[in-house]
Subunit: 533 residues, 2 copies
Amino acid sequence: MVWRIDWRASLGVLGTVLTYLALTMLVPLAVAVVYMEDIWVFVVSILLVVILGFGLKRLDPEPDLGPQEALLLVALAWIAAPIVGTIPYLLAGFGTESTVGLQTSSLGAAVESFVNALFESTSGFTTTGATVLGEISLEQHSHAVMMWRQLTQWLGGMGIIVLMIAILPEVAVNGAELMRSEAPGPDLQKLTPKIAETARALWIIYFGFTVLLVAILYGLHLTGTVIDADLAPNMNLYNAVAHAFTTLPTGGFSPQADSIAAFSALVQWVIIPFMVVAGVNFALFWHVFRGEARVMLENTEFRTYAGLLAALFAVLAVLLFGGAVPKTDPGGVTEGVTENALRQAAFQIGSLLNSTGYATADFAQWAEGGTEAQLVLLFAMFIGGSAGSTGGGIKVIRWLVVFKAIRRELYTSAHPDVIEPVRLGGNVVDEDTIRGIMVFTMLYILLFGVAAVFIMLDSARIGVDLTVLEAMSASLATIGNIGPGFGDLGPFGNYLFFPESSKLLMTVLMWFGRLEIVPVLALFVAGLRDSGR
Amino acid sequence: MVWRIDWRASLGVLGTVLTYLALTMLVPLAVAVVYMEDIWVFVVSILLVVILGFGLKRLDPEPDLGPQEALLLVALAWIAAPIVGTIPYLLAGFGTESTVGLQTSSLGAAVESFVNALFESTSGFTTTGATVLGEISLEQHSHAVMMWRQLTQWLGGMGIIVLMIAILPEVAVNGAELMRSEAPGPDLQKLTPKIAETARALWIIYFGFTVLLVAILYGLHLTGTVIDADLAPNMNLYNAVAHAFTTLPTGGFSPQADSIAAFSALVQWVIIPFMVVAGVNFALFWHVFRGEARVMLENTEFRTYAGLLAALFAVLAVLLFGGAVPKTDPGGVTEGVTENALRQAAFQIGSLLNSTGYATADFAQWAEGGTEAQLVLLFAMFIGGSAGSTGGGIKVIRWLVVFKAIRRELYTSAHPDVIEPVRLGGNVVDEDTIRGIMVFTMLYILLFGVAAVFIMLDSARIGVDLTVLEAMSASLATIGNIGPGFGDLGPFGNYLFFPESSKLLMTVLMWFGRLEIVPVLALFVAGLRDSGR
Ligand SMILES: [K+]
Ligand SMILES: [K+]
């Protein structure tokens, strides 16, 4: 058996993907125009990407994607997008002291600049939200570049490839295969007979929620101005769009140094339900909008997700109200303050369980006396969103299958004569799926552990002594596409201080986490083994 | 389907098991006579256990074990043996300040005494080697009690039930079922058509290695006395027997506070190969003694085990020789001292990889500058011994199957049309076995993680602030039946300072680790579910 892959076809379609990616850069270009900032950064970026795209397209003008080529395309697109995404960062910071701008003083400085930019860009497209920006502010960085940073998360959330399937008929041919590789979670539901329509439905829902959030946030701001009340004083249109761009994809980037703590309590309450929505399988909303709310309410994964959110929220709210956690800055006093305790608890759980990573309080400061509360958050970070949502992590459905498989194994090992299938919501889960999920979860946990050890040793090498918790959280926050960790890489910290080698590893982890490891690794393992035959 | 279990039959056989356990107490009784110590401790212990045993036997004078009853018997025997094993500890320390003696000053003190004694006894039978003895010395504790402590490990190593199958025809009827539940690892090889003969062969090999080690150790001591050289000055007959009793079962208890560091370098070199032997599948030795050494050399698990030992030894030896680790007490200087660097490296890897837990150097002191070396040890602790050895942990063969299953999954997800079995040493591993191993490994890792969090929170509750590494190592060292952890519970520390609740949890972890979780939990899950039908 020889593995013949038509890589020209994959590269040809990749060219098309990149030209469309260049088009999305019109958004930050428009922002630059509005704020009267330098427009050359995005003009040059667009030109470079378009040239690259057209060049690749010429490799195969009429690409024909088989299943292997589809897989390769997804892997390539997710390598190319973060690399191309670094261009605006490098150009914008050219010659400045910005931590992601291109330094040309020495080769080492240039490499460091590229690694930082690649980290930031990958963190964007994979919706991770971990940052190497030493200073987050609209004075230090232009509105346009900061909007590009937000936009990468919005593009990566529902998936670049899913968007292509929705709009390009030639990509839709092997669309099911493509979507299976890009969509988070093991479960792909075809909503309509045509995969392009499914992709379109998902993107429309995603777009709709984004617009709704912008409307509510900016609406509050305008209303506040009109009735002269502090409803959402800082939430201008720029901020409304920027935060909608990173809420729905469970992204977590913010152009504000204080993240969501920069906004009023009302804004925080508004964002909570949208974060929750971002972790739900978007296919379920499609059913709801067709009048089949029953499908959502009866969905096992949705019920588990909702139940976990509610339970962890309750535990954390009690801990916060009871004074387990000292007053933090920002965040303030939660002990005995009902509204703040409830809001902080709902926000943290909503933000960390499905991997958004927004912050309203610095849980890195909770170490003294707040160990229980921190461990509740750590537990939440291991769960992840739902399949078909934009959330990262291991995902609720995988945990469900893992626990049901464990329970089945225990039962049948006491009753060796009994054959029992694993059921989920009344349906039998087939054994190949169970096996795939067990392997994925195991691989995820092993990678997480090995990476934590590597990061710890690598940091010690350059004299940065991490605690075991910090090293573990760096690994978990990147492979899980979460963003903030504990300690120095907490919600108001950053990843700048890590050595380049660790940053590169974390870039790979974010990438594995977003593409869910197996399809991507599969390509290499299959390639390696076949080349040896 | 109703689950009807004949628990009287299981209890009846348990009675027989206990009377034989009482007989083994003749060993410490003899030691008490030789050293002219109080003999009443073991006389009373024997009487109590014999009475209990005969009482249970009367429940079912002619027990008939089915597969369910066999499973229940294993679980019960492994609950009863550690409980009964506390009697000598409680009696010997009665009224004294010993940390495992029975305190009667208050109910709380009595409970604490029992929890400590149960921890020590379970740590013995499960071959863990974690201790709550605040002071290990033959002045503080009698020679007889310390020999009982060593003996529990020897009995638990090859298995109480395997011993019963070897000597009692009525137990051998469902012997295959019993052995599968008690033998470490997923793989049970029937060496002979009769299971009783297999059990006998395993125990004879185990006994043989033990006697050989006693002979070599005591032989060195005697030779040293005769030729007036310091070959093994402290290795008198008592110490030779005591350490042989805990080397072959990968136990790690020592009556010396300094563990193996109390003995000469020559003694340390002698013990290393025996520790290595203890982690090998004993069935392979049976083949070697029949002249089929080829079977051992071609065994995939054996080759992997040997390869891992060699590789980790080499890495650690280089680190130690290169000065990665400061001078420790005991252990001494390894930097640039070839013999010491080689010996320490071989000893630590031999001791920790297969879960023995003996110490010759205090790796808890390595924190400063020795992080790499500590992480090599941590990595080794995750491996475990071979199936059919006395070693703990996840076991080499499971890791082999897990990695092969991951590789297979990656390959087939790029080639969905290909059906590929997992092969081990040329044989196809059947899918049920793979599933069982995946579930086991997952459950193990999850339990390890959850227990670490519990231990951390529980200790914080009583004001003991563990580091994450200490909490994780407490969980790993007990569920993996290893013994020493990092930090305060390092090789020369102890587990006395943990709260009672954590000690009880660790007792359960040791028990799960030794019985490999699945068969035992299976019993409860099956019972719970069936009772609901
Ligand atoms: K995310
Ligand atoms: K052991």
